[in-house]
Each structure stands twice: as C-alpha cells, then as structure tokens.
Amino acid sequence: MTTAPEIAPEQTPEREVGKARLRKEDHRLLTGRTRWTDNLNLPGMVHLALVRSPFAHARIVSIDTSQATAADGVVGVWTGEDLPEQGAMPIAWTVSEDLKVPSLLPLSVGSVKHVGDVVAVVAATTQAAALDAAELVDVDYEELPAVVDPLAALEEGSPLVHPDLGTNVCATWGMDSVTLGTGGNVEEAISAAENDPDQVVIRRTLRQNRITPGFIEPRSIVVDPTAEQVTMWSATQVPHILRILLAMTQPIEEHRLRVIAPDVGGGFGGKLQATAEEALVLLIALRLQTPVKYTETRNESMQSAHHARDQIQRLTLAARRDGTITAFDVDLIADMGAYLGILTAGIPLLGGFMFNGIYKIPAYRFFCTDVFTNKVMTDAYRGAGKPEATFGIERMMDELAAELGMDPIEVRRRNWIKPGEFPYATVAGLTYDSGNYDQATDTALEMFRYEELRAEQARRRESNDPVQLGIGVCTFVELSGLAPSRVLGSLNYGSGGWEHASIRMLPTGKVEVVSGATPHGQGHATAFAQLVSDELGVPFEDIILIAGDTASSHKGMDTYGSRSLVVGGMAIVGAARKVVAKALPIAAHLLEASPEDVEFRTGRFEVKGTDSSVSMTEVMLHTWLCHNLPDGLEPNLDSDYTFDPENFSFPTGTHLAAVEVDTETGRVHVRDYVCVQDVGVIVNPLIVDGQVQGGLSQGIGQALFEEILYDEDGQLKSGTLADYYLPSAVDVPHYRTAYTVTEATTNTLGVKAVGETGTTAAPPAIVNGVLDALRPLGVPDVTMPLTPVKVWSAIQQARGSQEEVTG
C-alpha cells in the first residue's frame, strides 16, 4: 500500500503540477539568510518595552512614569492617557445585530481586562534599557473581580468584564434547517425520537480546550516613518489586511502606509490579526519620527497573542437504531476572552456550517452564545471553528456507535453522502462539490489493517492487559478556500474573499509572479511557480514570487483559511491566461499569421498545421523592444487578475489512529496513525504531505498535551514553553499518509485545499481512540488534553463507580 502521496493519473509527469518539486525558498532558510522582522536594525532605531497588567481585571488608579522617564537611554514613556490619537482596534466581522464590541485600545485607558493588557510603553535606545526602565513604571491598580469560566460569566450576578456593556454575552447567533429550507424541525425530530422505541437520543457536553497557535517565531514589528511614507515590517500573515485596518483605526492614511511581512516564522492563524502591539509601534514611531522596534517575548506572546478554541459544546443527536441520524442539535458556548479580534466573534459561526460533517442529516440546528471572560481573546487557529465542529460531530458519531453497539465505521457509512450524490446540498446550507468518502475510508482501513487491530483489541480486553488498545476514527470534510465574497457579505463579514495576482513578463524570458497571498512557510514560491510554468510554458526555475509587501504586491487578502492555492492559485492562473491572450496577437504578428490560426502549446505559439512557431520568450523580448508589434496594440504582456471563488472548497479524508492507553499511568501512546486525504488535484506532493503532517502534530498536541490554563483569579498558569506543552519529535508518531483524488469542480485546477485538515481530524481521531480503549472500563469521556493524570483519574473514577454499582 502506498504511503507516499499518490499522483492522479491525469497529472502527467511533463506537467509541473503534480511534481514533488523541492522548495525554492529553502536555501535562504537553511543558510541563515532569512529575513525575519527581528533581524532588522535601522539607523537611529529605538526599542520598545511594554508594561503589562499583572491582574485579570483592575482599575488603573494612577501611573507614575517619572522614574522610568529619567532612566538611562529612555526616549519616552507613554500611558493610554498620553496617546489621545490612538484608535480602538478593529474587528472585521459584525456577526449579529446584538454583537457587543468592547473598545480595545492599543494602550489601556482606565482599566485592564486580562493579564497582559498593555498599560504603558517605554521607548529607549536599546532593548535592555527599555526593559530596565519598564520595571520603573509604577502602576497603582485597584483589583476588580474577574470572571474566568464562561459558564460562570453567564450566571446572574457574575462580575462583568465590561460593565459598560451591561452583560457578558457578546453575541448570539443561530441557524436551523427550517429557516434555511434544508430540513426539518430539530426540536420536533428530537422529541419524536424520544418517544420512538426505534430511536435513540444521545446528549453530550464536550469541551474544546483553550490552546495557542504556537508559532515558533515570536511576533516582531519595526516601523520606519517619514513624513511621506511609513513602512511597517511585521511578522504577520496579513500585511494587506493589516494595512487597511490600521489605516481605518489609527492616525495614518492607507496610501501613506506600506506594510511588509518579510519572512514570517509560522502563523497558523495566530498572526492573522491586527494587534494592539502593531498599532502601538506605529503610534510611537509617528510620535518620535524615528524607526521603532518591538519584539515580544514568548511569555508576552502567551499573554497577548490570541488563543483559540475554548468552547463548550452541548450536543444532542437523534438516530434510528439502524444508525441513521434523524436530528442534530448544537448549542455552543464560545469563550471570546476579554476583547474581540478581527474574527473572534465569527470563529464559532464558521463551525456552524460544518457540524453536520459529511453526513446526511434531516434536521439541524446550531446556536451559539459568545461570552466575554477576563482572558486573552480567542481568534483563528488552523481550522478556525471547523476543527471544533468536526470534533463535535465525530465524537458524537462514536458515541452513537457505542450506544448502538455498532462499528464506528459502519455507523458513519450509513450516514455519509455517497459518491453519486454530489454536488450535495447540506443541511447547513452549503453545497459540497465532490468527494468519495467510501474510497478514502476503504483505502485507510486497508492501510491500517483495521480488522487485525480489532482482533488485537479484543485479545487485550479479554486478558485485562494493563495496556489497552483503542481505535480512533474520524471521517471529515473541511470548509476551505475562504471565501466567496457574496457569502461573506451575507454573513456581515467586513471584506471580500477574493485574491489577486499579477504576472510580469520580463524581457529576458523570466517571470515575476505577484500574489496577494502572503506566505509564511507554506511553499507558495514553489507551488505557484509550478502553476505558472504549466500555464506559460516557462521553466520552473525562471519564475519568482513577489509577495508580502503592500508596495509591490499591491492588492491581496493574504493567507489563512486554506485559501492560497484554491483562491490565490486561481488568481495566478487567471492572470497567466490573460498573459497568453495578450501574447497571442503579438505572436501571430511575428509569425505573420492571423491570430485565429495561432495556438499556444507548452511555451510556444504555433501556426496550426505548420511547423512555424515562436516561443513565449521571444514574444516577451519583442514586446519589450516594441519595434515590431501590431498597430495600436499595447506593448505589454503583464496581466492582473482578481479571482473571487464561487464556492468554498471541501477537502475530506479518513483518519484512523491506533492508540495504546497504559491504564496504570494514564499515558496515551499513538502507535499508528493512518490518514487518507482527498485534497483534489495535488500540485506538489511534498508540500501537501508536509502540510498534513504538521497539522496532525498540532492536532495531537491539542488532543493530548496542550492547554492554556488560567487560575480562578485569571492568572495565566501556562505562560512559557516550560508549562505549555508543545509536542516534540518524541511525542508524535510517524504518520502514514495517502491520497485519493476527486477533483474539485469549483475551480479549473481541480484543487481543494490541505492546510487545515490535520488540526481538524486529529483531535477527534485521538480522543475517539482513547475512549474506544477505555469505554469497556466504564470511562464515558475525558476532556482534552488527555494528559496522563486526567486519563488515569477517569479510569479511577469509573472503577470507583462500578464498584459502587457491583458492591
């Protein structure tokens, strides 16, 4: 069985698409010639240190900056009161009419709402001097009661995170199949099921742990202001979005602000934000009219960069005893933290479209309550709402299987959409274009040796082996390729979802591809060159990518939501096709043929039925020379294209995990992990595999190790990498991956997307596996992360209650 990526038969080897091209970007990254923001050192640059709140909720009584101001090397010290020009940070998604938007100022005024809120900023000639002086800023706080638990925040009499808003409820949002016209009434279906002996109703409350995206490069910002133009370098995923949002909220006009994301060391959604720190560096640079730099520490990153997930999911699933689902009701409590980032309030909603998974569900309802707490805001992290949803439905599918005594694969098979049923309009109102869940699952089962493992499991159960074996299943679909602009509009999202590309044809036959999709590790330079090479017939080596700078890549929506290939790539293809269209009349002119008789094939323009031809390279040179072009024709091959997708894209797959649970210690060991993915046409199998493996490790991290912990007072207990457990190479397994291909029908490349699949599928696969091992011991659930102590305690508790029953 193949464990390497399979290439679809129609992807012939002559084509670049489908080749495992080694990455163009590697050399500089491997030799230390990388351009990280923190590497920048500009003449006259001053450094910032931020004074952050040690309290989860407090009133700022007074701030004495005199000692800090007088310290060596200090250029200036500011508090919120000193920066009247600062604007509140933006949000991009007004999810509902009842949405409450608290004001998040770059520098707090009056009060602080979580540990890490910024109360003062010090600028000094060196970073060391700034840090020393920051310790001299004397802040007098009056501590206020904080609320940390979202359920407690909803109770009568809870402390209010924002007393001026009068409630801790940030927003409510719902949808259901009756209103959508996609199915029946959930309440009726569930109560019917309750009164039907032939049906079961399963109610569970599941928990999504609060985690951090965990990019390894801390965020860093440099701003170089001149009266004419202000340049900001930031370790951001979204320079284009950042520029607009800063221009809309801070005292800088859009045309005067240039934002550059140089090399960026991972993002995963964590750098999809317009941050208070970015605004602050800008504001201070404008004040000082000198270059300013700020690089966060890991500890600062943990207490200010947005967190993710953190949901309570109350789920009700009704099904017939043969396994067929009859209704699914989702009631979410989503913890926003103290403020709203650009997408915070909308993240849970994205999940609303995916809780139905790959299944045919006749009645569906989704309702979400967004809640404020005195913690760091949550926002996008690889998958953004969809991993949470997949976790919900996939955990419930296993609960259903257990309840009915059915095989978890069989239950899924009874409910999923069959190959012949695409395009399929789902109960959540989306249309899945293509997929073949049977094929992916059958492949996975074979690779996994499912039956053998089930037999081993039975043996271990029988012999009461202290190490029990569990098999975890997740069959999923992902909502990717964000996003059709009209859909975003209908959801009150504050921007479009298109992507832009330009192609510049250079006189020596080389090509510059300009993309608005900003890379930070995904291999855009390589994959995009493969696309362009196929379109234009220019060698892979002769193509370079320009991205991540609003001056050179003037238009873009950046990188998140698995959109770079399916949206950004399509923009590039569109631009390339325009280039060919522009080149054709010039080629015809050079060939002294009529344009209708000329066709473009693999890099050459050929006069049909003759051997007369001219290469794209020659056309490029002649266009530049402009000596001999058709009359009246613009001497220019360069082309722009903005692509707005018609639909999302829906990568799918089947993940199977074999987990060993040491019942003596509670340790979970992932012994084997097989995943068969359908990401549509594969442009570069190496990159695709890398995306899958990286996401899987993050997903396993969420399932087994990672959790942002606050104590009752809102103190962050996991503020360093010593107490926030990111998995190392030892802690994750060797993955076995394979691919099935059903082409996407929503774009001409046939590509789906791949970036978020691992984080989406791995948590339910792992947790289902552990519970599969432990259910016979009476363990009903363990909340993520499934650390040894939690697993062991759950086993103890189950044993205790079983003894009570039997004893």
Binding site: A128, D132, T665, G666, A722, Y725, T787, P788, V789, W792
Partner: protein, 285 residues
C-alpha cells in the same frame, strides 16, 4: 527578555570564588552550567548584583576514584555523567538519571553541582545521588565540609549550600555490579518529571542483598522509599516480591499538585514506576 544588569567574575580558584561571593554580599550568585539560572534571569525572576562563574576553576570537571568512592567534580556536565565509563561502572543509576535530563543541549551545559545546588524537587540527579548514598563536598568561608545527601536536601530549592558556599564535588560510594534503573515519567519528552523513581539493587545468589530506591518530585526534596527498601532486603528476586514492595513507594508521601498530577496520582505513579524500575534493575521481565 533579558536579565537585569549584573557584574560578572570568573575567578580561577575556589578561594577566589568564595571570596567573590563574600565580597558580593547577598546578591552574589554562582553560575555554573546556567541551565537553571539563565531562564530565571531572563524571566527576571531573580536579579543578582554579581554572578560568579565557576568555569575557570581548575579541577571541577574531573571524575576520579578515591578509594571506594567516585568523586565527581561539580562542573561535570550531565552529558559527561551519561556517557562516562567510570560513572557507568560505579554509579549506574546516576548515569541513567543524567541521560533523562532535559535534552542534549541542556545536558552539554548543565552540571551536577548546579543541579544539586538548585535542588528543584523534580530534578533527576538529586534522587539518584540520594539513592546512591552520595555526599557533597562544600567549600565556604569556614573551610570545607562533606554533607550526606540525606542532610544536603532541606526543602524546595534549599540545600546545605549556604550563601557563600560552593559545592565542589559529589562523592558516590562505588555501586559497581549493582543493577539499576531510573524510571522517569513526563507529560511530553522535554518536560521535567511528573514523578521519577530510581532503584538500584545488589543481587547475589538470587537474593536481593541491598536495595536503594529514591524518588523525584514526591515532596519538597528527593525522597528515599525506605519501606520499599526494607521490604526487599534479603528477599528473593521474583516479580511478585518486587511488585509488592514497589507498590508501596508512594506511601506516606505528600507530593505536589499541579496540572501534571494530583498528589493522589503521584503517589500511585510512584508505585507503578518503582515496580518497573525494580523489575528492570533486577533484570526481571
């Protein structure tokens, strides 16, 4: 983050180190491997006025035999402990414990003297030295003294090393021929021990002549599991005996509570790890 500003001295002998510590007053601190101190300094959880570096002091990196004792210089690194043949022969448990510390980079820098003086309750070397009945040579303004491991560890991050003292060497009576195993349990591979148990056994004629068992992170200091040792002395080497004795490792302890474990869990875990360590030390499947 960066540390606060401090002065730095690197004397070339122990007398110079002690003098620097005395002159430096309350806020003078030794730095050896820096693997515990640097994170603390970078988080600004400590603000020393003076760091006194041991790196130039001669002889602190030596491992030598003195009679039936192995004498390990304070600046011997975890890496050396884990790979040195003398340590493997005479103090197998110490080598095994050292090999589990942090990661390779930490082990290249971190030192036995620093680890013992730092006395993190989850530290691995303390448990191993305690199990092996080791002792620490300490030099201070009043001269040199040797303190047995049982007296050396006093409380959380507190040892017999006084403010102006230097730990210069660790003495381990030879345990050549003893079987040993260090069982360490962590949440992720990089993390400190949730609990660790080190066991070393002298076995002759199928009978356990002597058993020594110590635990990390089961209290403010490393602890000997004396009830386990007592149950094993003179016992036959069989799985049932080892298991029964090992299971008692957590008895009477009061381990800490944190996200990696409740006291109850740690007590239980100590028993499990002790069983595994004992079986492995005894060569019993």
């Amino acid at each position: 983050m960066r540390p606060v500003d401090f002065d730095y001295a690197a004397p070339e002998d122990i007398a110079g180190v002690v003098q620097a510590l005395v002159d430096g007053g309350d806020d003078a601190k030794i730095i050896s491997g820096g693997q515990s101190l640097m994170p603390v300094l970078r988080m600004r959880m400590a603000a020393p006025e003076l760091l006194v570096d041991l790196r130039k002091v001669d002889g602190l990196r030596e491992i030598r035999q003195e009679g039936s004792e192995l004498v390990i210089g304070a600046m011997v690194t975890h890496h050396t402990l884990a790979t040195d043949p003398l340590v493997a022969e005479h103090a197998g448990l110490l080598a095994q414990a050292a090999a589990t510390i942090g990661d390779a980079q930490i082990r290249y820098r971190g030192t036995i003297g620093g680890a013992l003086a730092h006395a993190d309750p989850a530290g691995d070397l303390g448990a191993a030295v305690l199990a092996l009945d080791g002792s620490v040579d300490i030099v201070g303004p009043a001269g040199e003294r040797t303190v047995g491991a049982a007296e050396f560890f006093q409380d959380y991050f507190t040892t017999a090393v006084g403010e102006d003292d230097v730990a210069v060497a660790v003495r381990i009576p030879s345990h050549a021929g003893w079987g040993s195993c260090y069982e360490k349990f962590t949440v992720v591979a990089q993390a400190w021990a949730v609990v660790a148990v080190g066991a070393t056994l002298r076995i002759a004629d199928g009978v356990i002549q002597e058993a020594k068992v110590a635990m990390a992170n089961m209290g403010p200091t490393p602890l000997r599991a004396s009830q386990v040792e007592a149950a094993l002395a003179g016992a036959a080497v069989d799985a049932g005996t080892l298991d029964a004795a090992g299971s008692r490792a957590g008895e009477g302890t009061n381990p800490p509570e944190d996200s990696a474990g409740t006291p109850e869990y740690r007590r239980h875990l100590a028993g499990v790890l002790a069983r595994r360590a004992l079986r492995s030390a005894a060569g019993v499947e």
